[in-house]
Symmetry: C2
Subunit: 356 residues, 2 copies
């Protein structure tokens, strides 16, 4: 599995539509998506999947060099429903993992999820690449990170939870990850960001910026329940070596002050099955780690917090060949339950004659 | 506009679903489509558009090397709703004509047709090519043939009918065709196949097999209303020269004996708005001219008629570099109102790096 910082063909996103996930019939989120897509499309091809009903909105809103394709979906988290693309250097294939909305009937976030579960295979057809059918194993793209040199980063909270593959042991899951992703070592953090409804996806708390180098979401406030989680991650990372035997350099990326959804924001969200999906005052899982690495930019969430610029300043030297750009509008994505990384999925670059 | 007999990247079709067009919930037609797709996919890429509801059926039925993509549609006539692809030798672009179901509110065949009318643009996005927006001009791909050397073949019955562009004169339409298709001359036949509900599409009565050479659907039975129509076409063709000033060589391709839909076949079709779409005994617009030229084959409708093999024997020497293959199942397509050519649309070959 090539790392996100290797060169891409492009990026796939899903045009948001779910009225119980996204404010104001998803129109607020669409503005943020469009801004993000504009930045990504400056240095790579962007493919946007839109439901039939939303196709005209997407086509009208997005620049002409963006490919808009029709595709049904239950929600808009491309990171988690798109295929994981792997390559042997000659050809590329997509892994079609099982998807059950982050926990299925145990603690999943919506029902049904059948449309989302079909997206990975459809995207492989769209790219005209072969598929590995792994639908009997539940995995979301946001729950794994790779350094491209044999190391996988993930969290126990997510992969060992009861909502995914409770019939498998940790050792069995590790073997599965290594075999499928061509990796040699899995580094297990314990938990992800506090109150992250994905059961602690790795991509919100810790990310490789280059081999043997990561950023870790951090707070110095010991009263914040996040402190203990991040401190535990730091300890694990500092006590680990990667697949190549290297120590891992950890850069602390400060979190914004806790962000809570307002009553007005909740008013813009429909109920799901008669129940609100968010309640006023609920803490949202905000984190600067949820950035996307495009060919020439790193696009970082911004929350109107004093740490917005600090996060960008920390990331800049870690990506010397890329512009580090803040996305001001990212609160509109956060309300949906994730951020920039969660709504994007890179498509590795490979020879064009192999693509079609 | 490259001719059908130039080398293709591939071919697009739409997986049939309409229960008032296709027998037995479209399952009979799907068999024929699958057989056809199998043959075409031996020498070029096939892209099949399936509605969300039909995606699993298409994916299950079709070979893995066929790309199945999700796309909404009103019916399944790729020839008429896909973009007309034109090239300047360096890049390729798609013309998005207006589509109104063969005559709109005047004498169109179904209502509404909005999903079909969006397919051309969507296919351009799918191929990642630019679009010429010509939706203010109504045209179906099946109403034009090109020799690739400046000549367009069409019929007055279709292009000058009241259901398409009644505000335009013949001269204006001719200018429009030449400008859009990069052509210099339009040869106008008068009428198409008898009882053809497309208002006499050219692709059911006459087709280029190479520059300055055509096949013309023919009957020697003077009592058949088709006789007069074909004789008139022959006269026009023999009195015409092409864009290069050449006389046109006409090969008569005999028609099968008149084919009428049976009562049992009608029983397999749903009504449309409470009215049957076919009545027992109705003559169907069967013709061997409705073949598709793939990179290495010419696939020809077969009707269980004594002329089935004659048609193939006539076509063989006209396509010395291709296998001429009969599709036995084509009555199941004919019942829908067209045949092999109507359900296919070639995608010209162009450099792969320009494709995606």
């Amino acid at each position: 599995m090539p790392p996100e910082y290797s060169r891409h063909y492009g990026c796939v996103l899903i045009w948001p539509h779910r009225r119980d996930s996204w404010q104001y019939g998803a129109y607020a989120a669409r503005k943020a998506f469009a801004e993000l897509i504009g930045i990504i499309s400056e240095s790579e091809k962007v493919v946007v999947c839109a439901r039939y009903e939303d196709y005209d909105s997407a086509r009208k809103t997005l620049p002409d060099n963006v490919r808009v394709v029709e595709m049904s979906s239950d929600d808009s988290w491309a990171r988690d429903v798109a295929p994981t693309l792997v390559t042997n250097g000659k050809t590329i294939r997509g892994i079609d993992w099982g998807f059950n909305a982050w926990g299925g009937l145990f603690d999943g976030l919506y029902f049904p999820w059948d449309k989302d579960n079909k997206i990975a295979r459809k995207l492989c057809d769209l790219l005209d690449i072969d598929t590995y059918d792994k639908r009997d194993f539940i995995l979301e793209g946001g729950s794994i990170h790779t350094d491209g040199e044999g190391t996988i980063l993930t969290t126990e909270e997510c992969l060992l939870g009861k909502g995914r593959n409770p019939h498998m042991t940790k050792a069995e899951i590790e073997i599965m990850l290594c075999r499928c992703l061509g990796a040699k070592k899995v580094i297990w953090l314990r938990r992800g960001i506090y109150n992250d409804e994905t059961n602690g996806h790795i991509d919100n708390i810790c990310a490789f910026t280059s081999p043997a180098e990561v950023v870790l979401a951090w707070t110095d406030n010991k009263k914040d329940p996040q402190y203990e989680i991040s401190a535990e991650c730091l300890e694990i990372l500092q006590g680990s070596t990667d697949a190549q035997g290297r120590k891992i350099k950890v850069h602390k990326l400060p979190l914004p002050d806790p962000i809570h959804i307002t009553e007005e924001e909740c008013m813009g969200l429909d109920d799901m099955d008669g129940e609100p999906t968010r309640t006023p005052g609920e803490r949202l899982a905000a984190s600067y780690v949820n950035f996307y690495i495009s060919n020439r930019a790193v696009i970082v969430p911004q929350f109107g917090d004093k740490n917005d610029s600090t996060a960008i300043d920390i990331l800049k030297p870690l990506f010397p060949d890329r512009k580090v750009i803040g996305l001001q509008n990212s609160r509109n994505i956060l309300i949906g339950g994730g951020n920039i990384h969660c709504i994007t999925q890179q498509i590795p670059f490979f020879k064009q004659e192999e693509l079609t």
